[in-house]
Symmetry: C2
Subunit: 338 residues, 2 copies
C-alpha cells in the first residue's frame, strides 16, 4: 500500500531524526539521502505518511518526526539488526570472561550493555523455576533450628532458616538430607513440589513435623524467589534523553526502582527472539516515551532469563538490537561454561 519510495522516505526520516534529534524537513532529506526526487515530491510522500500516522509535525510548518507507529514499521520492515564488529565481539567476550561468580557475571553484563548501547541496561538473574537443583543442604544451627541452603545449576544460592516444631537429631537430619537430594538433585524446580510430596511418610511420627516444616520452607523459597531479581545500570545515560528532561526522566527513574514493573515488562516480552516495545506499546505509563529492547538468554539452548535496555523511542534500533543480541549470546556461553 505504501510505495517503495515512501518507505525509503520514512527510513530516511527515522535515521535523520535519530541522528539530529530535530524534526526533519523535505529539503534536508533530499540533500542528505540521494533519493533521486525533488523536495516537492518528498513533501507529497510525507503528507501521505502523515495521513497514515507514521510521522507527525510538532507544529505547523515544522519538519516531521516519526510516531511510535512509524518506528514500529521501521523496526519491522525497514531496518535489520546491525551485527557487532569482530573487535567489538572480542571485547565483549574478554570483558565477560573475567567474571568470578554469578553476581559478577550479571554485574559485568549490565555494565557492558550500558556502555555498548549508551542506554539503561536491565539484566534479570537466571530464573529459579527454569533452573535445576544442584544440591540441597541442611545445617543444624541449634537443636530446633535448621538452615536450608539451595544451590542451583546456574550457581545461584538461596538460604532460609527453619524453626523446627521439635528438636531434630543429626541422624534424622542426615537422613532427610540424603533422601531429599536423591529425589530432587538434577531436577527442575517446577517438578520439586510433586517429587517431595510424600517424603514425610518415610519418617518417624515425631520427626514429621520438622520434615514438613523444612519442605514447606523449601517450597516457599521456590515461590518467593520466583519473583526474580534483576540488576540495572547505566542510569547516567538518562541524561542524554532529550531537552524536556525533568518531565521525561522522573517516571523512568521511578519505573527503574520498581523492580516489579520491570519484571512485568520483561515478562510480557515474547519468550523467544528479540522483542522491541516502542513508546505506548509499553503497558506501564511512565515508560510511554521509551522503548524497551529485550531478549532471552540462557546457558543451553533454552532461555532462563531476559536482558535488555531501556532508552528513548528515538534510539538507534539496529545498533541497539545488535548489541543486545550479541551480549545475550555471549552471556549464555559464559553461563554454559561455568
Amino acid at each position: 500500500m505504501l510505495s517503495e519510495r515512501r518507505l525509503q522516505v520514512l527510513r530516511a526520516i527515522v535515521q535523520d531524526y535519530v541522528g539530529t534529534e530535530e524534526p526533519v524537513g523535505s529539503k534536508a532529506l533530499t540533500e542528505r539521502h540521494n533519493l533521486g526526487v525533488s523536495p516537492a515530491t518528498v513533501r507529497n510522500d510525507m503528507a501521505a505518511l502523515e495521513d497514515e500516522g507514521f510521522i507527525a509535525q510538532p507544529h505547523t510548518s515544522a519538519g516531521r518526526i516519526p510516531t511510535d507507529k512509524g518506528y514500529r514499521l521501521f523496526v519491522d520492515k525497514l531496518a535489520g539488526v546491525k551485527p557487532m564488529t569482530p573487535p567489538e565481539r572480542r571485547a565483549i567476550q574478554n570483558f565477560l570472561e573475567g567474571a568470578v561468580d554469578l553476581d559478577d557475571v550479571v554485574a559485568r553484563t549490565v555494565r557492558l550493555l550500558a556502555q555498548l548501547t549508551r542506554q539503561v541496561a536491565v539484566v534479570q538473574y537466571p530464573s529459579l523455576t527454569r533452573s535445576t537443583v544442584r544440591h540441597v543442604e541442611l545445617l543444624s544451627l541449634a537443636p530446633a533450628r535448621v538452615m536450608l541452603v539451595l544451590i542451583t545449576d546456574t550457581g545461584r544460592v538461596e538460604q532460609r532458616m527453619v524453626d523446627c516444631p521439635a528438636p531434630f537429631g543429626e541422624t534424622s537430619l542426615a537422613d532427610l538430607r540424603a533422601r531429599l537430594n536423591s529425589r530432587v538433585a538434577g531436577r527442575r524446580f517446577t517438578d520439586v513440589p510433586t517429587l517431595v510430596e510424600d517424603l514425610p511418610e518415610g519418617f518417624d511420627l515425631e520427626d514429621r513435623g520438622t520434615v514438613s516444616a523444612v519442605l514447606s520452607t523449601l517450597l516457599e523459597t521456590l515461590v518467593e524467589e520466583n519473583e526474580e531479581r534483576l540488576m540495572i545500570g547505566g542510569t547516567a545515560n538518562l541524561t542524554r534523553f532529550g531537552h524536556d528532561f525533568p518531565l521525561t526522566i522522573r517516571p523512568v527513574l521511578e519505573a527503574l526502582e520498581e523492580q516489579v514493573v520491570l519484571l512485568k515488562l520483561l515478562g510480557e516480552a515474547g519468550d523467544s527472539g528479540m522483542t522491541v516495545r516502542i513508546g505506548h506499546e509499553n503497558a506501564y505509563e511512565g515508560l510511554n516515551s521509551t522503548s524497551v529492547v529485550s531478549v532471552g538468554y540462557g546457558s543451553g539452548g533454552e532461555a532462563v532469563a531476559k536482558l535488555g535496555v531501556v532508552g528513548p523511542t528515538r534510539m538507534d534500533y539496529p545498533g541497539t538490537m545488535g548489541a543486545v543480541r550479541a551480549v545475550a549470546r555471549y552471556v549464555g556461553q559464559i553461563l554454559a561454561e561455568s
Copy 2:
C-alpha cells in the same frame, strides 16, 4: 566573633533558601522572621557574613545564598537534629519489622530512608570484618569438591567452592567442621586468621592439603568480601534537584553507579556519630554540589556498617539528620533481634 544576631540572620537565610530555592533578600528576611531590626541593618549583617564567606551573591543586586561554609556553620552551631515524631517512629518500626531476611532488611531500609528524606538513600551491607562468625559449614558436593558456607551474626551468608587436592572423606570433613567451628564460632572475623593458623597440624598428612585449601578459601572470602556491598534507592528524587539539572545530575548518577566511590565516601566518614559532608568537603568531584549525611549502624552497641543519604547541599539538614539517625537506630534493633 560573629554577633548573636548575625548568626540568627545566617540561620534565617539558610532556612528560607532551603524552603524557596531562591536567593533571599534583606526585606523578605525581616518580613518572614521577626528579627526586630530593619532591612538596612540586616543588609549590614549580610555584608559582614559575605566578607567572612558564609553567604554569596549569584550576581550583583540579587539576594544571598549560603555557601558550603555557611551550611557548615549552620549544621555545627545553629541547627539541632530534628527528632522524629512518635507516629513516624512507629511507621519506621512497622515497616522494618516485616523484613524476612538480610537482603530484605537492607532493601526496606533503603526505601524507607528515601521516602522519609525524599533524597537518594545509600545503605551498606553489614561488614564481614566487623561481624562475628555464627557458623561455618562444609558440604561435600563431590569426592574432591567441598562447598564452604559462612554464616554471620548479621545473617549474611557467603559461599565458596573449594577444589581439594585429594579426595576427602566424610569423617574427615565432619572432623574439620567440628574443629573449625569450635575455634571460630562467635569470634570476630578479624581474629579468624590467627585462630586457624595451626589447624592443619592436627590432621593426617594426606588430608592436610585439603584442610589448607579450605582454610585459604575461608581467609580469601574474608578479604574479598571486605569489599563491601551496598544498595541505593530513591534516585527518582534527583529530579527535585534544581533547575540547572542535567549538568548537576549526571555526575551524581555516575557516582552512584560506582559503588567504589560510594564506599570510599562512607568509609571516610567518621566512625562514630553522624557525619555531614557538605559540597566541596566531599573528595569526589562529581558530588561537589551535594551533601552526604551518614551514620554507622549495628546490631549491638557497635557499628557494623553505614547508611546515609545524598542530596543537594540545599537540603533540610535537621530533618534529614533526624531521619537518618532514627532509621539507623531501628535497623540496629532489627538486626539485633534476628
